[in-house]
Structures are given as C-alpha cells and as structure tokens.
C-alpha cells in the first residue's frame, strides 16, 4: 500500500474510532472539566500552525511570497463574512494574479 492509501486508511480508522468512542463506550458520563479545557485548545493551536506553515513555509526555509497576499485577501474576505468557497477562490485568484504581474 502506498503512502496515500495508508494515510486514507489510518486517518479514516482513527476518526471513526474517535467519533464512536463516546456514544459506544462511555454511555453519557461527562468528561472531567480539565480535559475539556485541553481539548478545546487543540483545534486553534493546530489550525494556527497550519496557517503559518502553509503561508510562509517552503521546505525547510521561511519565505514571504505571493501566498501572503492571497492569505491577506482571504482574511479580508472572512472579515466581510464571505462564504467559505468564495474565500478560497479569492485567495487563489489574488495569488495567481500577483504571481503573473509582480
């Protein structure tokens, strides 16, 4: 099995297990408050890291290039409450235009 399918199978199996764990096993016992406090910070921390690395990362170096213009445009679109698909299209289009003309 190549890397692509291994990722598909492992992420799929892991996610199915995580989603099923509460309803199948725990049967309604609430989590301790401390644990909930940790889990709610996971998504912002990981997503923040993904935004940063995908904007500035190029292999093992950090660069400022046309992607930053696209992400900034996406930020403005989000602030103006644009729908998700529009935000993504704006980011790609702005970057493509910047790359073609700058």
């Amino acid at each position: 099995m190549n890397a692509t399918w291994l990722v598909v199978v492992l992420v799929g199996a892991g996610t199915i297990a995580i989603k099923a764990a509460g309803p199948v096993l725990l049967g309604g016992r609430p989590l301790p408050a401390r644990f909930t406090g940790v889990v709610e910070l996971l998504a912002p921390a990981v997503l923040g890291a993904l935004v940063a690395v995908q904007t500035f990362g190029a292999g093992h170096t950090l660069v400022v290039d046309e992607r930053l213009i696209g992400v900034a445009a996406a930020g403005i679109a989000l602030w103006r409450k644009a729908p998700l698909l529009m935000v993504v299209v704006i980011a790609a289009a702005t970057t493509a235009i910047a790359r073609a003309f700058l």
């Binding site: 990722v7 992420v11 996610t15 725990l26 996971l42 993904l50």
Partner: protein, 218 residues
C-alpha cells in the same frame, strides 16, 4: 424527553451549511488531487473520514513531503475534539451499539451545533438528518473537485498553494472565541514557524499541539 423534531427538520435546517460544505468538498478534491492523491483516494477519504479540517491537514502534510506518521498524527489531533463532542451527544443516541456507532459517524461540527437545543441537550433526529445531508454534500463535492480538478492546470499558476492556508484560516476564525483560544492559535503558529527550519515536514504542526496543555491551568 419529548422529541418533537424529525429527521426532515434537521435536513431542512442544514441546507445553507450543506451548500458551503459541498463547496468545501470541491476545494478538498481539487487540493488533494494537486497534492498527488489521485482522483479516487480523496473520495474514499471523504466517505470514510468525514471531517474536513483533518483531511486537509493530512493532505497538506503529505504534499509538503511529510511522512505518513506525521500526516496521520496531525489529522487525528484535529479530530480529537470529536472525543468530547461524542460524549456530549452520547446520552441521546440510544438503541443498540451498532446503531449508536453508525449515528456517531454523522457527528460533525455543523450537525452537532444544529442538534444542540441550547440547554445542554441534543436532538438525535436533527443530528442524523442534518448529518446525512452534510455527508452527501461533502462526498459529492469531493468527487466533483477530484475528478474535475484535473482541468484546472498547474496548482501554483492558479494560486492553489495559497488556497490551503486560506482554508485553514477560514476554519480557524470561528474557533477564536475568547482570549485563550486566540493565544493558543498565535502560540501554535509561532512554535510551528520556529521549528520549520529544523524539524521534518509535518512535525512542527504536531509540536504546536502541545500549546493546548495550557488548558490545564484554570
């Protein structure tokens, strides 16, 4: 508990979200294909994983040349929230274990939010109705994106490399309620950038997750 709402109520309420999720699915299909996943693997992944941000994370780590282990870990860290979310709906998913198992798979952020009745209780029929519609939108959108994405040409020329961070930004913004979460996002980003020159691809993302331990402090 009185159940006055039906599966159809959930399906109807989720309409606007489903359109957004289908669009999101199209972008996943296109980006996964651009990252070298082919056309079939993205569709199978959407049908089995059904959790957008984690799928994007896994695909982006692989696209950056990361290992399978780092891609899977990054994705599952993003899905860890479904642990406590699953616990919150568990009392309302009654019946046999296999039926609870099946319905638990339809829990995503949007179906969970719609099923919340505002008093800490959840309507299981709204959850299932909304979840099914979202599932169809997600898998269908992915198929359109991954099969049709080929026509789009070179990913960098059309700015697809900026679509990834824009998407993660769009997923991050609604998460930034309260000072703590904002701090977690900024710290996570800083740690990941600081490690990028030294660590193998994908590892900076996983390292950023340790930030969540500050949730232990009251």
């Amino acid at each position: 508990m009185i159940e006055t709402k039906s599966y159809r109520d959930g399906a109807r309420a989720v309409g606007p979200f489903a359109i957004a999720v289908a669009g999101f699915g199209i972008s996943f299909g296109v980006l996964a294909r651009a990252a070298g996943f082919g056309w079939l693997a993205p569709i199978v992944m959407s049908a089995t994983t059904f959790a957008g941000s984690a799928q994007f994370a896994a695909v982006s780590v692989i696209g950056d040349g990361g290992t399978v282990a780092t891609a899977v870990t990054a994705a599952l860290l993003l899905n860890a929230r479904y642990g406590p979310i699953g616990v919150s709906v568990a009392p309302y998913l009654t019946g046999r274990a296999w039926w609870r198992f099946v319905r638990a798979q339809l829990v995503v952020d949007e179906s969970w939010a719609l099923a919340a009745q505002g008093d800490g209780r959840f309507d299981p029929r709204v959850l299932v109705g909304a979840g099914l519609v979202l599932y169809c939108g997600w898998v269908g959108g992915t198929a359109i994106g991954s099969i049709g994405g080929e026509a789009l040409g070179d990913p960098a020329t059309i700015g697809l490399d900026a679509a990834f961070p824009a998407l993660f930004l769009a997923l991050l913004v609604p998460q930034l309620k309260g000072r703590r979460r904002l701090q977690a996002a900024v710290l996570g980003a800083s740690i990941a950038l600081a490690l990028t020159p030294f660590a193998p691809a994908g590892v900076p993302i996983i390292a950023a997750a340790v930030v969540c331990l500050m949730g232990l402090r009251k």
